[in-house]
Symmetry: C2
Subunit: 756 residues, 2 copies
């Protein structure tokens, strides 16, 4: 079921195999990004085999006209697509007039390696007697910069004429455009001497969405001589040539990309690109790389997780967590408050949109611990800024308050499956939960008071309008929802949704009691209504079985464990009709358990155990967001085997292609899950009620593990081995920490016996 195409090493994702069959998968796994822009691991030079070209710039998108079979009232008018951008990596390489094509040519010495420690992609190959070593990075130091370097050397004792034709190619499209429209037009181009530039603008749209401009400029360094520069209809290029013998020669390409997100118009974009290119003039790849690599090292210093052990699985574990952190940070590091974390980051175009509830539910806890509070604050503020759009979304459904979208770029809902768009409204609770999470983790109540409350009140108003009162039963209910388990649609009284809605009302009332915000016009009648809903919400529970009921009717299903299925039935979403999936008891993704995770302090261990034992065997984890939650709970419940299984599944989801879809891009938003599984799962870090606590477990497959966290102005390193738990306070003032239920004061180093 899994497929592993890259070698297992602690810091690299590499292979010596030119894998033509799984090219797209390899491209996904070797993606690079710097939060501003990024690209899949496409070869720079011509490749005649199958490949999925993808270069993306954050926040640059296109509203693609909605495509549905049957229109339903409330559907959004467009679907926001992450669009394939100017292909700035493109080169044609000729050796003695023969165009290099690794698909068709005889290739030796192939090696491909992503250095996660430094954010560098290196590739070597020998073709036509010439060995090429290509390196590239997307700079952390200069966000607009992508840099490429080729080392070229003849290995057959002969001299060869090698030419590079380097393009900025505007002739790009998305594989998944709804009506096969082009999203781009070229609006300016220039090619002279040893540089060229190309500006593109998204085509006009009828939805009033900004037509983004992207300007790219390429300059060069090294030993090759410029011979031609040309601007064509949809691209520009510069050609360079050199005679190459046994002494290595270098060809270096620098691309600067600016956009109308940062500059006012085409002229300003072009000018900024030119100025940035000017600054780089005379610099070489190696120096630019050094600046970049140092910043990656800084990130790792704060965030690295170390795992060691004698078994191969320990290295798999190690590589998995680093890969996920690397790709997550490549996608988002909190520099731009207008951005969020797209499901594929810069690694693919699928799903569209750039903002999912995944951010709030799965990514926020990681950024809280691994980055400065400002980063998470930016993520929260992003939602606050989009409150008017969320209000619009609620109105579209005929409801009060605010409904945050399932998928969006600009805050307006753009997803178009009614069972998701209209019904998967638990997402709205996650937005509120993140405000709580930030406040509780950081202890900073200022955000809640100033911004958060406004969001909370509008979400509360949504829930208060969305529930209905069942007069006969004297209880409030929420009908017609899809819970986190998307293998059920249009269900009634999803426990998770009902519980979360009630919690939102509760937290909002508590917060309003703390901080007066008369400007929000919350009336006493509203508060009374909310209180009434809190006290009379229906929360399905099965007395006989003693478990929470996922939703009305779930217990009437033909309940069976996944183990009762034939292996050939999995994954269900590829093997079964949708109808059969919906009727089955099989759960795509943690649902009741997601609630027990979110509100872990409101349920006792016996309840968690009972529900875990009931729901886990029916869960197929066909959402990338599922295994981490199960791993965390399994660790808490001392189910080591399950916790490890789920950890490997979440941490190596892409590296081992568990869901058979990584060729479309990486599962960026779920990548935080592997970190959560280690820190909140194995180490049992909890932060309830302003208290930091740990109760580390050590899975037998590891000898030890260590990680860092930021917590209220401290930098703490936690190391767990078979003998002891060590807490090192690397920065900040002394801190009370509970370890295995006992309170300690950590001043510099605290050592507690393993198991307490």
């Amino acid at each position: 079921m899994t497929l592993r195409v890259m070698d297992v090493t602690p810091w690299e994702v590499s292979t010596n195999n030119l894998d033509k069959e799984h090219k797209r998968l390899v491209e996904s796994l070797t993606s690079l990004g710097n939060g501003y822009m990024g690209m899949r691991g496409n070869f720079e030079e011509y490749y005649s085999g199958d490949s999925h070209l993808g270069t993306y710039v954050a926040g640059v998108w296109f509203p693609d006209k909605t495509r549905v079979g049957w229109w339903k009232n409330g559907y959004p008018k467009y679907f926001g697509k992450a669009i394939n951008n100017v292909n700035f990596a493109k080169v044609d390489i000729h050796v003695d007039g023969k165009r290099v094509d690794l698909y068709a040519d005889q290739v030796s010495d192939f090696h491909l390696s992503l250095d996660m420690q430094h954010g560098l992609l290196t590739r070597t190959f020998t073709v036509h007697g010439v060995k090429f070593t290509v390196k590239r990075f997307i700079s952390l130091a200069v966000k607009e910069l992508a840099a490429f370097a080729w080392e070229v050397v003849a290995v057959d004792g002969k001299e060869h004429q090698v030419t590079f034709t380097s393009y900025l190619d505007g002739d790009v499209k998305n594989e998944d455009s709804n009506y096969e429209e082009k999203f781009w037009q070229v609006v300016a181009k220039d090619a002279q001497g040893a540089s060229a530039s190309l500006s593109m603008q998204t085509v006009a749209n009828p939805f009033g969405i900004e037509q983004f401009i992207v300007s790219a400029k390429q300059t060069f360094a090294g030993d090759f001589v410029a011979t031609e520069a040309k601007a064509q209809e949809l691209d520009v290029y510069n050609t360079f040539t050199a005679e190459v013998g046994a002494t290595a020669k270098y060809f270096e390409k620098f691309v600067v990309v600016t956009t109308s997100r940062d500059y006012s118009d085409l002229g300003a974009c072009e000018q900024a690109a030119a100025q940035l290119s000017q600054k780089l003039a005379g610099q070489r790849f190696s120096a630019l790389y050094q600046e970049h690599a140092t910043l990656w090292e800084d990130r790792w210093r704060l965030a690295d997780v170390q795992i060691s052990g004698k078994e191969e699985v320990a290295i798999e574990s190690q590589q998995g967590i680093r890969f996920n952190l690397f790709q997550l940070f490549s996608t988002y590091y909190g520099e731009d408050s207008r951005l969020n974390i797209g499901p594929k980051g810069f690694t693919g175009e699928k799903y569209g949109g750039a903002t999912y509830w995944d951010t709030e539910a799965y990514a926020v806890p990681l950024y809280l611990a691994l980055a400065k509070p400002e980063v998470t604050r930016n993520l929260l503020k992003y939602r606050w800024q989009q409150l008017p759009q969320a209000q619009h979304n609620a109105r579209q459904q005929g409801l009060q308050g605010a409904l945050y979208p399932m998928v969006t770029f600009n805050g307006i809902e753009c997803h178009n499956e009614w069972e998701i768009t209209f019904e998967e409204i638990h997402r709205n609770g996650a937005i509120a939960y993140a405000i709580y999470n930030y406040t509780n983790y950081t202890g900073d109540e200022e955000y809640l008071k100033t911004y958060g409350l406004e969001v909370l009140v509008e979400i509360a108003r949504f829930w208060a309008d969305r529930v209905h009162f069942n007069t006969r039963k004297g209880q409030y209910m929420i009908h017609g929802v899809t819970g986190p388990n998307e293998y059920e649609n249009n269900i009634n009284n999803n426990w998770y949704t009902n519980y979360l809605a009630t919690w939102v009302l509760r937290y909002t009332l508590e917060s309003l009691a703390k901080f007066a915000r008369p400007d929000l016009n919350v009336t006493d009648a509203e508060k009374d209504k909310w209180q009434d809903i809190i006290s009379k919400m229906y929360l399905p529970y099965d007395q006989e079985l003693g478990v929470i009921v996922q939703h009305d009717g779930f217990m009437d299903k033909d309940l069976r464990p996944v183990s009762a299925l034939d292996k050939s039935d999995l994954p269900l979403n590829q093997k079964w009709s949708w109808d059969k999936i919906l009727r089955s008891p099989f759960i795509k993704q943690a649902d009741v358990l997601q609630g027990l995770y979110f509100f872990g302090n409101e349920f006792d261990t016996a309840t968690k155990l009972k529900n875990f034992d009931f729901y886990e065997p029916m869960t197929v984890h066909e959402s990338s967001l599922s295994p981490c939650i199960h791993s965390i709970l399994a660790a808490e419940l001392n189910k080591e085997e399950k916790a490890v299984e789920m950890y490997l599944r979440t941490s190596r989801l892409d590296l081992d292609n568990y869901n058979n879809d990584t060729e479309d891009g990486l599962h960026i938003t779920s990548m935080s899950g592997s970190w959560l599984a280690i820190v909140q799962g194995f180490a049992q870090m909890k932060t309830w009620n302003n208290k930091l606590s740990f109760a580390p477990r050590l899975p037998h497959i590891w000898d030890n593990y260590a990680f860092h966290i930021n917590y209220r102005d401290r930098l703490l390193k936690v190391t767990v081995d078979a003998q002891k738990v060590t807490l090192n306070l690397l920065e900040g003032q002394e801190l009370e920490v509970t370890v295995y239920d006992k309170p300690y004061l950590v001043t510099k180093e605290l050592v507690v016996d393993f198991g307490g």
Copy 2:
């Protein structure tokens, strides 16, 4: 909420108003057809205003590539579209060189009239000093023939040069093609002297669906002189001219249309069209019309329903039922067993497909009574022929047996909303019910034995696989369905579906007990399983309220009557978001009541009354199939006002544009509903257990009404007035009939006091 654009008269649908604003609506209402082909009431000549061009040939369709936002496993690959065919009505008329255009020109004397008694559309208009009277019909006598005649006379005392350029135009498209593809290519054309021909073929498709060929040939008669003939890229034309003064001159156009459904290839189609045209040579419009009109009179002799009364509403009632019978017979009169009754007939392209469960549920009872048994037998055999495709459909869902499609041309499901395609499986029960209906009505068990049982067994196998056993409750359940009320999706235990499924198993077992069919390989184990399901099926019922429960969870809704809504909320499907509709208690279409109608003999009056009173107030009737069922039950329950309201709604649905969508075409398949409302409703005709009975009601808005029925080789006329019920046996042997619960023998005429 309603919109009436045509005058109210007993036998016509006419207007003196050239209604440019509602042109599409008028076009729908003046459609003509003969079961083989038909067209909307488009003007023949050029019209620069809005119009919806539509000419259709039965059984000629195109598999349009499925369009959905998100693919779900099990979706069909294509959606079968009724395609706009060669525009054979087209003419350009010039008066003294000026092209006639009723949208732009000064027009007087406008009159438009559909004569339902004779199937003739007449239009008069005066423009540029010339009065035109256009007549057209689609022949019942020669199915391939469409005939047009223009009477032209100058009314301004001058002479005018009038030219007609008559086209066969192959440049047609569907308004709703999924990817804006053309469905047709012109494959042969010829224009010489006073005739022209054009052949078109549907373009290639990747689904293995036949590429249909349609050949059209036009010939002419009358006083005009041919001046030009020409074949262009996508059309052919003949031009005729005459000087017209105070003496009327005539221009007549005859079009013959043949298809590859009847002829083997292009050559054969062309040859057949030529031969048919040859036969018509020398004939005039008036004689051809006479043959045609006589056949319409024959149809009415067997089928007419007469309603009279002093109030306008009686004429409205009269016109309504005749309009519906006229359009229904124009669509289908049982001549071709390869055809079925499409939702829009020849009046529009919307919905696609040509076969819906509407046929079995609503049309079969009408055809049983108004046509020879062969007609209904043909409708049933149509499904029998498509059993392999129905088995394919079941396999697509991973199920055994046969699943008849929601929408199809060829038996393969082509609809693509999961909540309908995968879930609205009650349709499968209606297929079985029609077999029962035919057998019970005609007394002919031969069909059941020879063909019907095979279908029943496969449908029974489907249900037996589709249910699941709820171990805890010890009952069988059916999860994940959409009932007839499509304002609920993915519900559990829809009472109608559960009851119908059980009934199918029961009827199949009974029939198998009667007729041995060892070739169907029904094992004892299967029969035991079916029996077990019958005895343990869960049928939701609310003890406290004493009503059947539409489905699990329905009673938990915020139950309110439609009358509690603001008028501006209606129709819900145009005013509310889908989400709000789904959560509401409002019912699109009879659901529980549909079951009480189907199985009227299995429920007592008290049960019907209780459930009618409960569900009717929540029903919005936004399906055209709903009001008739409510009218029938209301009549039975002596709720005259409701019965009349629902009768008018069903009988004048299109004439008064109740659902604000008649511009897209007429609601053909629901047109039988108004007849059912009269015969099964007001007259309370029932045929349970091989016994014919009546218990007529007379709504106070009518003085009397009369209708005919075929029943077991008899032709019976039933006349109801305030004093008496009269049964006239017009054909066939004496017959036992129950009237107001008393048995009578009808030999020639039976008169029973009104009310018994």
